[in-house]
């Protein structure tokens, strides 16, 4: 009898242990949420006090981040980094929940946050949760929903953004095309979704623009996170003759560095990963989007809109990572000049990089 009680007790402990640690980084989330509630209470009291004077001076905006993947994943990592920066400069009070996944938790979390925290703005990535996110947004018209999405904005409060780094991807492609000696370049991508396809296609176009003989080989690993598989895919491309690699995903730069080959990062500046081999890469910067939204919401002029422009080169939302001229062997001056001239043309609007969202071919030369 005693034994059974003991087992039952331990079973309960195990279950609660599992529940506590189950949904991967949930512990972080739990801690964050507690903080939010406290801070919101604080803000609410402040708001009550100043309500009589002006509404605009109600302190920093309360912003919540809702991410389907872990923030270590580069895409959501960029949004998170921009919101963190805004928090550090005192513009917003920021909390977040990540690794929410695509199995129905997004709607629950958004509704909870909308009811309890009542933030001014919710940032996040919709994509796999598109319908759920839009459903919640429609129910809370006073909250600005600003989400990464392949769809359009929805009145009155649902704005969309996306990463549009095809322009710096084109410039990276030019560098790669100029640097390859074997005329074979390898690209390892996650999944062939429009966001990835247009980057890879622009990269291929850039490479072909400076080197008509170039063959860009593209492999998808069908996962956002499997660096070991990405590295194996890159090594297979090296076996097939590739001497420059474009790392759309993590794991590829390691393969390049191991073999003493040039590599290009993606989404954020990856130079420090292998300073001798990482040349550059397209970088997405969400700061302009976040700044704009803070101003709009803070000023009471927010409307639903497509924020595409804020993620492109002209407004500083997309940049080419500083070209690392310290790579082994250096970079030829005429190639540098060519790339910089093209960059200037893009900034001034003289040159437009085509947006091609079709799945890139396995081998660009075969097309």
């Amino acid at each position: 009898m005693l034994r059974k009680t003991f087992i039952l007790l331990l079973g309960t402990i195990l279950l609660s242990l599992i529940a506590a640690c189950g949904a991967s980084p949930e512990p972080v989330t739990v801690v964050e949420t507690v903080v939010v509630t406290e801070e919101v209470e604080k803000i609410v009291t402040v708001e009550v006090a100043v309500e009589a004077t002006t509404e605009a001076e109600s302190g920093p905006l309360v912003v919540f981040g809702a991410y389907a993947t872990a923030i270590e994943e580069p895409w959501d990592g960029v949004i998170h980094a921009a919101l963190n920066a805004a928090q550090e400069s005192g513009q917003i009070e920021y909390t977040f929940s990540d690794d929410i996944g695509y199995s129905g938790d997004m709607e629950r979390i958004l509704r909870e946050v909308a009811e309890e925290t009542q933030p001014d703005v919710i940032f996040g990535d919709a994509f796999g949760n598109e319908e759920a996110v839009r459903r919640v947004a429609a129910d809370y018209p006073d909250i600005a929903f600003v989400f990464g999405s392949g769809g359009g904005p929805a009145e009155p409060n649902f704005s969309v953004f996306d990463n549009w780094i095809h322009e710096p991807a084109y410039l990276s492609g030019m560098l790669a095309g100029g640097l390859t000696k074997s005329n074979v370049i390898g690209v390892v991508g996650g999944l062939p979704v429009p966001e990835v396809n247009r980057i890879v296609n622009a990269f291929i176009a850039g490479a072909a623009s400076v080197n008509p003989d170039v063959d860009v080989k593209t492999t998808f690993i069908n996962s956002w996170f499997d660096p070991a598989a990405a590295k194996e895919a890159a090594l297979a491309q090296i076996d097939a003759g590739a001497d420059v690699l474009f790392a759309e995903r993590f794991g590829v730069i390691e393969a390049a560095a191991e073999n003493g080959l040039y590599a290009f990062g993606n989404m954020s500046d990856q130079t420090e990963l292998a300073p001798e081999y990482v040349v550059s890469g397209p970088v997405w910067n969400m700061n302009p989007t976040v700044e704009y939204i803070i101003n709009q919401v803070g000023g009471g002029t927010y409307t639903a809109q497509d924020l595409k422009d804020f993620s492109m080169v002209a407004k500083g939302g997309a940049t080419l990572a500083d070209i690392n001229t310290a790579v082994e062997g250096g970079i030829p001056d005429d190639l540098l000049e060519q790339v910089q001239a093209k960059q200037q043309e893009i900034v001034s609007g003289l040159f437009r990089v085509d947006i091609d969202e079709a799945q890139p071919p396995t081998s660009s030369a075969a097309e």
């Binding site: 640690c21 991967s24 872990a70 270590e72 980094a81 492999t219 070991a228 194996e232 954020s268």
Partner: protein, 316 residues
């Protein structure tokens, strides 16, 4: 010219096969031993993940402190955390005798959560993955013409195929411990009557098995990548569960299973690049799994599971 390309293709393929098979072999041998004692450890996926994390975290911190053998410290840490998780699994499945599926999946969830939580605690949220200088590849027969690159492998790959595998076979079939282990997994009552301490043998085996799983995970973070990230194991633990059944609980067959999966994995990456026929890339990516299923269907018929498989032992 065509011949030279073909040789590069084959040599690269063989080298990659051994590399991809290494973590699978470590973890499969670990699971195989565990199951031979009568316990299914579904904590394998999480234990590999935790091993990869702890190994990397200790190595990265030791490298920061400029300790010379930082990679070995990391590997040692992974082994220790593997032993601990194995003992935890043993506590649930041997001492408490709870459902092994639930306990194992619980261990996977717990280990995954702990690793991700610890990763963020220690390394924060950087946009560049923290990395270390990983184990170098040895080129023992590097001078060998043509075939040299095949032997450019990590030390742990050599250990897996030349040390671990024969040792695992010898331990299982030629030692007293191996006999006890097999008898405990087949008929614990008889083993107990013959004076074998069933509980002790299972505890030791689960701890050792989990340590091997952790080494398998740490191979990815300390040798292959020199970095840790979410998704680093990406289901490899579950593949090992299938490989154990394919192997019919025999270490040598487990090696063939790991090589088969690793080989098809490496082959499909290369076939994709050849661009011979217009097949969607998803088909190639699914190939290793399709082959595993096919191999299971063919070789896994009439498998004799260990007699006491999934059964907790009670002295009643």
């Amino acid at each position: 010219m065509i011949e030279a390309t073909f040789v590069t293709f084959l040599v690269g393929l063989l080298g990659a096969t051994l590399r991809v098979a290494t973590p699978l072999l470590f973890a499969t041998i670990g699971e195989l031993y565990t199951e031979r004692s009568g316990v299914l450890n579904l904590g394998i996926e999480g234990i590999m993940f935790l091993g990869a994390f702890v190994g990397f975290a200790i190595a990265a911190k030791s490298a920061e402190a400029e300790l010379a053998g930082y990679l070995w410290l990391g590997l040692g840490g992974a082994i220790v955390v593997g032993l601990i998780m194995g003992l935890l699994m043993a506590f649930f499945s041997v001492t408490l005798g709870v459902n092994q599926h639930v306990a194992g999946l619980g261990i996977t969830l717990l280990s995954t959560g702990l690793a991700l939580f610890g990763f963020r605690m220690i390394f924060g949220q950087s946009s560049v993955l923290p990395s270390i200088e990983p184990f170098a590849q040895l080129s023992i027969f590097g001078d060998l013409p043509i075939l040299g690159p095949i032997f450019e492998q990590y030390l742990l790959t050599y250990v897996a195929f030349i040390v671990l595998l024969p040792l695992a076979w010898w331990l299982l079939y030629r030692t007293n411990y191996g006999l006890e282990l097999r008898s405990v997994g087949e008929n614990p009552e008889a083993a107990d009557a013959a004076g074998v301490n069933v509980f002790r043998v299972r505890y030791i085996t689960l701890a050792l098995g989990a340590a091997l799983m952790a080494i398998g995970g740490a191979f990815l973070s300390l040798a292959q990548l020199g970095a840790f990230s979410p998704g680093i194991i990406a289901g490899r633990g579950w593949v090992c569960i299938a490989l154990v059944i394919f192997a019919k609980w025999d270490p040598i067959r487990a090696m063939w299973g790991a090589l088969l999966f690793g080989g098809v994995f490496a082959l499909q990456l290369r076939l994709q690049l050849l661009d011979l026929v217009d097949i969607p890339f998803e088909f190639f990516l699914a190939l290793p799994y399709l082959v595993t299923i096919a191999a299971l269907a063919l070789a896994g018929r009439n498998v004799a599971y260990p007699g006491a498989y999934l059964k907790a032992y009670r002295r009643e």
